[in-house]
């Protein structure tokens, strides 16, 4: 199986380059991560992040044949050769497939991604009906892999001002949680031309999310709620 892999080590390379490599042995059911690990045995200097191997930790987002995804749940058999692997786009490259996700996490932290309660704390659970709990499905499962935000042109151009799809998805996760009591504060924080409104519904984010989540519809719902509150 033939690969073209983006390589760059600031210690030794003046410029990034695409390295052509071949993997002799593959097996049925092999995932891209397995292949990268086998390639790393051939050349231990190849660097990439990975951990859980089952699509839950969010470490191994990368650009695979032009599309962002997680290597550990991407079957090798579904990929066209030569398989072209690049780091997530638009982020500064630290080395090979490892990018600096600093801005991405800053934006996540900026939406106050935590439950805010104003009522005095009870000694038992805050009740929530199954229907209200269902509203969190499709939101809380985000693994912060960054595939969506690094596929978003608005985030490429404004990574410090536009929150990006992943952070906005989390914003809606708390706005829609019946237990959270900071709706107005959250909406006020999103105001202005950049944080939310730089989303032009280009839908790249929805297309790449490996967990099948839809930041686009979350963003739509925030906009709707803002409008409702404005009148």
């Amino acid at each position: 199986m033939r690969f073209k892999i983006y390589r760059y080590n600031p210690d030794t390379d003046t410029e990034p380059y695409m390295q052509e490599v071949e993997l002799k042995e593959t097996h049925p059911g092999m995932m891209l991560r397995d292949a990268l690990l086998a390639l790393k045995e051939q050349d231990p200097s190849l660097s990439f992040r990975h951990s859980c191997g089952e699509g839950v930790c969010g470490s191994d987002g990368m650009n695979i044949n032009g599309k962002n995804g997680l290597s550990c749940i991407t079957p090798l058999a579904e990929l066209k050769e030569p398989i072209e692997i690049r780091p997530l786009p638009g982020r500064p490259v630290i080395r090979d497939l490892v990018v600096d996700m600093g801005d991405f996490f800053d934006q996540y932290r900026a939406v106050k991604p935590y439950q805010i309660r104003k009522d005095p704390q009870k000694d038992v659970e805050i009740l929530q009906s199954p229907i209200d709990r269902d509203k969190l499905d499709g939101l809380y499962e985000c693994i912060l892999c960054g595939c969506c935000s690094t596929a978003c042109p608005s985030f490429w151009w404004n990574p410090k001002r536009f929150l990006g799809p992943a952070a906005l998805l989390q914003s809606w996760r708390f706005l829609t949680d019946t237990r959270d009591q900071a709706e107005q504060e959250r909406l006020d924080d999103l105001d202005g031309p950049y944080k939310l409104f730089r989303c032009h519904t280009i839908m790249n984010c929805l297309d790449v999310c490996p967990k099948g989540l839809s930041p686009t519809s979350a963003i739509g719902k925030i906009k709707e709620l803002m409008l409702k509150k404005a009148i």
């Binding site: 600031p10 839950v56 935590y114 708390f174």
Partner: protein, 588 residues
């Protein structure tokens, strides 16, 4: 030598899984300056992978109380658990789960709006009389929900994170007080000394010891090995849990919740064989019991598939709605890795390395305790541990499903509180001598040696195979003695291993080399502990010693790195307030 950068905090936390983050939150809320070091971004910690749920006797579904939970945990531990710590944990459970809910964990809900609970293995009402429904769940993504929520609350509390920093070794002064750690920034490869009045180890498990495992690449037992190198023994390492239902040959976990929701196991004859091994609770017997049953079915020729090397887990009869609502994550795993939909097709499963019951010995306040100079057990000054890397011991010889997430919450928090006390009593940092740092640096610099040598990847693969072949579900002296010899050889060969990549920036080869050194030490602790324990108890099943021997072996083992030495200490059988549960025959 170039001067190494230094940072100074009140307290240092190594690990940002559930245990580390729960402690960090406690400390940040008390206005302590906390440094949290993690080799991966916090939400990538392996707590994220926990599926089924966390135990607490909320009694939302059926009558329940902490005392029944306590009994189940002690029985599950095969009477090796310390009863004071177990009482403490079970009493605290409900409060801590409610607290999590207030923090925002998106628990699944019952129709009345309360937290959803499901049955799990080894849990009963009324001291073994009937099945309890005690495991609080957020679908089958409970660990993800808890880990993300704890990280979020730490953002709110302004804990200070060192993301993608790797801890090399603990730092200690001549009097034996722990004063921080040497770490490296993975992105730059630069070393950094973090000085602190207390150091808390929460580095998680070591499932990478085995070839087939439910554990992530990062679960290499680093904190346990750091403790060993600092002269602290490891307790009860022979007790390693094999989860009955890992995906056969691949290792991804299928939660016990699948059986909790009503799933069952089948052999090649389509027989529900658990009825023979645990007539009362069948598929919801304790994990050690179910794993042994599966391994026995396969050994006796009743396994499924062309090689007869697994059994099947059936959940199709639960119906599409239940599977989609309660087990969406495992459905996803089956579709991705097996190309089957468990709504229609049974899942091939086999016991898979999952959880280490042993670890760094602590008391129920998270303080590390050790016997240093053949004297009585003493508190190690400035050193704390909790979570999977620690051994309180609440799991004894076999952990109940849903009790580990509880363990990390309860003892993460308890350690946080104890550290707050320590900080009040110790206003100033003790001075840290340079030679302590030099020693830790040597461990790092050893890998700068250039030249030909064996590769880390080869040695790691061999080690994992040795552990799988020599220290698995069923054990015998002969096979384990061979295992010890194999590990000794690997330990020797490791000294001559070399890296090919000596660059500084994000050098994952170097990290893997340091991790392998840790795994080798822990494999020795595990194998020697297992060889020494001549009885069968909990997860440790000896073919040559098939019964439990309370007269000789109701004691904890302690492995010291220095001289590969083992000693023992008694089980604490006296609870805090209630009566002791004396050992009984364990039937399910």
């Amino acid at each position: 030598m170039t001067k190494i950068a230094k940072r100074v905090f009140d307290t240092l936390i190594l690990g940002a899984g559930g245990a580390g983050l729960r402690a960090a939150l406690q400390l940040s809320q008390a206005d302590a300056q906390v440094a949290v070091v993690s080799k991966v971004f916090p939400t990538r910690s392996h707590t994220v992978a926990a599926q089924g749920g966390v135990n607490a006797a909320l009694a939302n579904v059926s009558e329940d109380n902490w005392h029944w939970h306590m009994y189940d945990t002690i029985k599950g531990s095969d009477y090796l658990g310390d009863q004071d710590a177990i009482e403490y944990m079970c009493r605290a459970a409900s409060k801590l789960v409610y607290e999590l809910e207030h923090y925002g964990v998106p628990f699944s809900r019952l129709d009345n709006g309360k937290i959803y609970q499901r049955p799990f293995g080894g849990q009963s009402q009324n001291f073994g009389a009937s099945q309890a429904t005690r495991t609080c769940a957020a679908a089958d993504r409970t660990g993800h929900a808890i880990l993300h929520t704890l990280y979020q609350q730490n953002i709110r509390a302004k804990s200070h994170f060192f993301d993608e920093y790797f801890a090399i070794d603990l730092l200690r002064d001549d009097e034996g007080t722990f004063l921080g750690a040497l770490v490296i920034d993975i992105a730059t490869g630069e070393p950094l000394v973090i000085e602190a009045k207390t150091t808390f180890i929460a580095t998680g498990g070591c499932g990478q010891l085995f070839r087939t495992t439910t554990n992530a690449h990062i679960n290499t037992g680093d904190g346990m090995a750091m403790a060993l190198r600092a002269g602290v023994p490891l307790q009860d390492m022979e007790f390693f849990q094999f989860h009955p239902t890992g995906i056969a040959g691949k290792g991804m976990l299928i939660t016990e919740g699948a059986r909790g929701e009503g799933g069952y196991l089948l052999n090649k004859d389509g027989e529900r064989f658990m009825e023979r091994y645990a007539p009362n609770v069948k598929d919801l017997a304790s994990r050690d019991v179910v794993s042994r049953a599966i391994a026995t079915e396969v050994r006796e020729g009743r396994g499924c598939g062309p090689k007869g090397d697994h059994v099947m887990l059936q959940i199709a009869h639960l119906g599409a709605d239940v599977v989609k609502k309660r087990l969406p994550g495992i459905r996803d795993l089956c579709q991705t890795f097996l190309h089957i939909d468990p709504i229609d097709t049974a899942i091939p499963v086999f016991p898979t390395a999952h959880y280490v019951m042993g670890g760094i010995p602590t008391d129920r306040h998270g303080q590390v305790v050790a016997t240093f100079h053949d004297g009585p057990e003493e508190v190690v000054s400035g050193l704390y541990a909790a979570g999977e890397c620690a051994c309180v011991s609440v799991h004894g010889a076999n952990r109940l499903g849903g009790n580990s997430l509880l363990d990390i919450l309860v003892f993460g928090r308890a350690a946080g509180n104890q550290i707050i006390k320590h900080l009040k009593e110790h206003r100033y940092h003790k001075p840290l001598q340079e030679d302590a740092i030099d020693k830790a640096m040597q461990r790092l610099e050893r890998w700068d040696k250039k030249g030909e040598g064996e590769s880390v990847a080869t040695l790691k693969a061999e080690l994992k195979q040795v552990m799988e072949n020599h220290c698995s579900v069923f054990r015998t002296a002969v096979v384990m003695q061979e295992g010890v010899d194999e590990i000794k050889k690997i330990r020797e060969r490791l000294k001559d291993a070399r890296l090919q990549d000596h660059s500084r920036v994000f050098n994952t080869s170097r990290i893997e080399a340091l991790e392998l050194e840790n795994l080798v030490d822990i494999s020795m602790a595990t194998m020697l502990g297992a060889l020494a324990r001549e009885e069968s108890r909990g997860a440790h099943s000896r073919i040559d010693f098939p019964t439990r021997d309370d007269k000789t072996w109701m004691k904890h083992s302690l492995y010291h790195l220095d001289g590969d030495r083992l000693d023992f200490k008694p089980v604490r059988t006296k609870p805090l307030t209630v009566e002791t549960f004396p050992p009984k025959e364990r039937v399910y």
